[in-house]
Symmetry: C2
Subunit: 132 residues, 2 copies
């Protein structure tokens, strides 16, 4: 058995950030906040959930550091803070070469199939990704 | 109250992918598989968890489409499939301008503070990020 040492340090920020993104309501809330700051009521409005349900989602986003709340009397306004997403993007980007490699393999397979049937390969219009 | 329509279609793939990434053990397993395919036993070995516990994590990664399992008799070998991460990277990338904007605001604040104290601003060595 080949052993390996996991070299990823424990990153509670990544845990809570990816957890926050794993729900479609929370992703839609972030999308709404990208346009402008919104009150809790405004964030809850488009969803068929209670204000309490919406508040729970907002708390998950707050704990992940993705929004901060500005309190003025009874009005709580939520603001997007996208900075924690940067670490998530960096983490995922590390794997970019692996999905490109899969696409390269598919491309080779299609070209081989084309060669065998004597057809010309289609122009690589969908193939403008950056190679690493 | 300003209403908005959430324009993110429901994406169960994004749900399960971000959910899979929200755990440090699962992220370490993906990192291990980026080096080479590994058996379930090899994936479980570095962690202080039971083989059953490791299997649950592997199932979450499988459901997210991030690994596929090759079965040869009793030996189950796991392979990385990074393609679902592409959609996650695209989703997060949409917010890149927001974390850059925050950094710009911080930079302006620091420059203003420097101007007031009569100090020269530090050279922008850490400022090679792409502006959008």
């Amino acid at each position: 058995m080949v052993d390996y040492k996991p070299d990823a340090p424990h990153s509670p920020h990544l845990d809570s950030m990816f957890q926050a993104l794993s729900d479609p309501t929370r992703r839609a809330m972030l999308q709404a906040l990208a346009g402008q700051p919104r009150t809790v009521g405004e964030l809850a409005a488009p969803f068929e959930i209670s204000l309490a349900g919406a508040s729970k989602h907002i708390q998950v986003l707050e704990r992940a550091g993705l929004i901060h709340r500005e309190v003025q009397g009874r009005v709580h306004t939520c603001h997007l803070d996208a900075r924690p997403l940067h670490a998530g993007a960096e983490w995922i980007r590390h794997y970019e070469r692996f999905w490109n490699r899969k696409l390269d393999a598919l491309e080779t397979l299609l070209r081989t199939a084309d060669d065998k049937t004597g057809k010309r390969a289609a122009p690589p219009a969908q193939n403008k990704r950056k190679k690493k």
